[in-house]
């Protein structure tokens, strides 16, 4: 399919956000002679959950890490709250695919680690860490170590750590890909609830179409090699219905189908 055509699919009014917290302007990234991202222009609206979706090799994790300030773009720049990104910042927190927990530290110390890096005193950071451990449903596990927890519980610790620093933006890199399907579903439901409670902006990388449609306000579809903007979809699924009904909702299923057709051509 012609990529120029694909880009025309993006209605111009959807590109303009009313309250963009993150602006990605002409970002490209090359690794040696491999072009991972090519000229990405995007805006992310405050308080929304946006998914970056695409087959492997489309550069979605690279884009997330550039927004996080963990990678520098080869060209272009990223603005967070109007200020150019030169590295990680207090207004952004990252949730890692492999959890990135310290095996030698307890759940409490892991959840408080971000605050410790921000220079928050011991008593205060432990109090805040406890609050978010409770928030993610791990009360009673504060003294446990990561190897004593299941994969799903470990990612909850990673989530508590990111929430505890009270950043405006949560950057999540395939956070549920290393947990089993049942836990994943529970997680997705929790994420939707959490978003309502926390009023934060979420950027969510996933390769699961169902997951993206289920949790997102907006889905950014990337095409691979080089990673380009392919399509932006705003799932019009009803927001206030039961999670189990939603998974059987007509619009939900149609959106999943639509995205699959858009992606299929890139999957070999």
């Amino acid at each position: 399919m012609n990529l120029a055509l694909a880009r025309n699919d993006i209605p111009s009014d959807r590109m303009q956000s009313t309250d963009p917290i993150i602006q990605v302007r002409g970002v490209s990234k090359t690794y040696g002679d491999v072009q991972a991202l090519e000229n990405i222009d995007l805006e992310f609206e405050a308080g929304h959950l946006t998914s970056l979706l695409g087959p492997s090799g489309c550069g979605k994790t690279t884009l997330l890490k550039i927004v996080a300030g963990l990678l520098a773009p080869t060209a272009g720049d990223v603005l967070v709250k109007g200020k150019p990104v030169e590295g990680p910042g207090p207004e952004r927190a990252f949730v890692f695919q492999d959890f990135a927990l310290m095996p030698w530290a307890s759940v409490l110390d892991n959840a408080a680690f971000g605050l410790k890096m921000h220079g928050v005193g011991k008593a205060e950071r432990e109090e805040r860490a406890r609050h978010y451990i409770n928030e993610v449903g791990l009360t009673g596990f504060e003294g446990k170590y990561p190897h004593e927890l299941s994969g799903g519980m470990r990612q909850r610790v990673g989530l508590a750590r990111a929430l505890a620093v009270n950043a405006d933006v949560l950057l999540m890199d395939e956070p549920f890909s290393a947990v089993d399907e049942q836990t994943r579903r529970k997680f997705q439901e929790d994420l939707i609830r959490l978003r309502e409670v926390e009023k934060k902006t979420f950027l969510f990388v996933t390769h699961s179409i169902e997951e993206a449609v289920y949790v997102s306000d907006r889905i950014v579809l990337l095409s691979p090699r080089p990673g380009r903007l392919s399509q932006i979809i705003e799932p019009q699924v009803p927001k206030d219905i039961d999670p189990d009904d939603l998974r059987r909702d007509r619009v939900y299923l149609d959106t999943v189908e639509e995205i699959w057709h858009a992606i299929k051509q890139y999957v070999e």
């Binding site: 890490k65 996080a68 300030g69 963990l70 590295g87 990680p88 910042g89 207090p90 952004r92 927190a93 990252f94 890692f96 695919q97 492999d98 990135a100 310290m102 095996p103 030698w104 530290a105 307890s106 680690f113 971000g114 410790k116 890096m117 921000h118 003294g143 446990k144 170590y145 990561p146 190897h147 004593e148 620093v165």
Partner: protein, 254 residues
Amino acid sequence: MQWLGETTLFWKILSVVLFATTWEIAGRTGFNFSFPTFLETATAFFEMVADGSMGAAYLRTAEPLLIGLAFSIVVGVSSGIAMGLRQDVEWFSLPLFIVMQAAPMSALIPLVTFVYGIGLTAKVLAVVMLALPVIAMNSYKAVRNVPPSLIAMCSSFMGSRRQQVLQIILPAASPMMFAGLRLGVAEGFSGVVLAELLITPTGIGDLITFHRSVANFAHMYATIVSIVLVAIITVGFLQWVEGKLFRPEKRSSA
């Protein structure tokens, strides 16, 4: 857990008893005139402890061993960490350690005597030559094997380089560093015994050489077994210290 602890102790004692019995039987068959029985060896051991020769020998051996190990641990761990953290240090000193680790160091011991004579320096150097490379290489690899996502995690929360090294890299590298320390200490024991056998007979090396020369085979075996046991106990002690001081996550499940 208590019950399990007792059964492992039981099996440990049983394996020692089996070993001693096999030794006793093999000694009694008289297949080799220089092979003493277990009981003769044990008696010789207590004799040497009683007359003070064992204690004196260990005091003497301890000097080059402890100096050499202290040097190897301090220099090995710090240079390993420096090589792991800094590209320029790595480029400069890694080849040296690779050569040292690959070369049969015991073959170089006679060379050391030519340069440093037969005194303490030569023996300390023998310990260092065996212990240092393995400690340095393990510390280096330990630093390099720290999961990149942990380092990225630290930077994503704006941890400084100092915080990254002290709070992520060193704790994450410590299990492998300790494995290197245990290997290095065991190598250090080889180094000191080799030095005492090859350079000039002192301490344990002297005790082995002397009893061999006068055909006191039970005493010779007792000395050899004792140094093996001391090495095993030292390495075991290191492991215990590591568990006690550095591995809270292992203690919690007990």
